[in-house]
Amino acid sequence: MRKFIVIALPIVTLVLFVLVMQSGDILKQPLVGDDNVPQAIETVIQDINHENWEAATQNTENLKRAWDKVVNRVQFSGERNVIDALTVNIARLQGAVQAQDKATGLTELSEAYEHWKNLGD
């Protein structure tokens, strides 16, 4: 029994570490319903395209909330730079929506989506 534990424990530990480090691609996907970052991005894009700024403001807040939930899960497997960059994109987006700046808003959303795609790769 002891020999089994001595061999199994390191193997299980290493497998767990690999799962943690490679979990980014899976954990960034929506799990609880209100953490769907790509859908939130798409929603804000639609709002900005239709110049529906009130809805854009609300949906930007939803995007921020969704992203905050995803960050807690992917921080161990994702690059810090990508996480920080996406956070900054959302901050700039809030400013752009407040200023009703369509071009900046769409630029930030496009970049944010690219960062989200690169997360965990």
């Binding site: 570490f17 690999v18 480090m21 490679q22």
Partner: protein, 228 residues
Amino acid sequence: MVIVRAFIGFFSLLIFTRIMGKQQIGQLNLFDYMLGITIGSMAAALTTDLSSRAWPHWVGLLTWCILGYLMHVIGTKWQYASKLLEGEPSIVIINGKIMENVLRKMNYEISAILELLRNQGVFDPTQVDFAIIESNGQLSVLLKPEHQPLTPKDMKMPVSYSGISTELIHDGILIEENLTKLNKDKTWLLTELEKQGIKDISEVFLATLNPAGSLYVDKYKDQLKKDK
């Protein structure tokens, strides 16, 4: 995030180095030394370099450890490869005479050899029968018979077998498994401790028993007698 990555790096390194085995420490030649530094720096980067993912650092760490392990396995199975990869020992002193051509080949200064001899307690090279520089840079010295330390065998003195002592108590805790291996029981041990004025096992820091039956006991409260 750093704490989790430190956890991953620390225990991954622990597991890999345990698998690589003790020879990594015992036969540390220049390449093994550099391998150790490289592996260590990869583990450090895995922990603190948040600008990149942990996964590439971990894969690099694993790859280097596997390659290091394979090198030692190949060296063990194939002697010629061992000579190529790890170098081989060189005799630098024979019968008190220094082999200057060997020193020149190895880029060793004579002052370094004399220093290594002094580290072994040899201040006169003429006392040396053979001196060998090992592949890990250590100097092994065989003194001439007339300069070797005296042994009981030289004096034809009978000695009793001492063997290896077995721990019975460590840090106040009884090691029952060892007690059973020596065919002793707790009652016997307590009786022996009582002879030394000890009432409980928790008063003992270390107790060992050697094959000759001599029980060594070290208490937490050591009472050193002052010299008058």
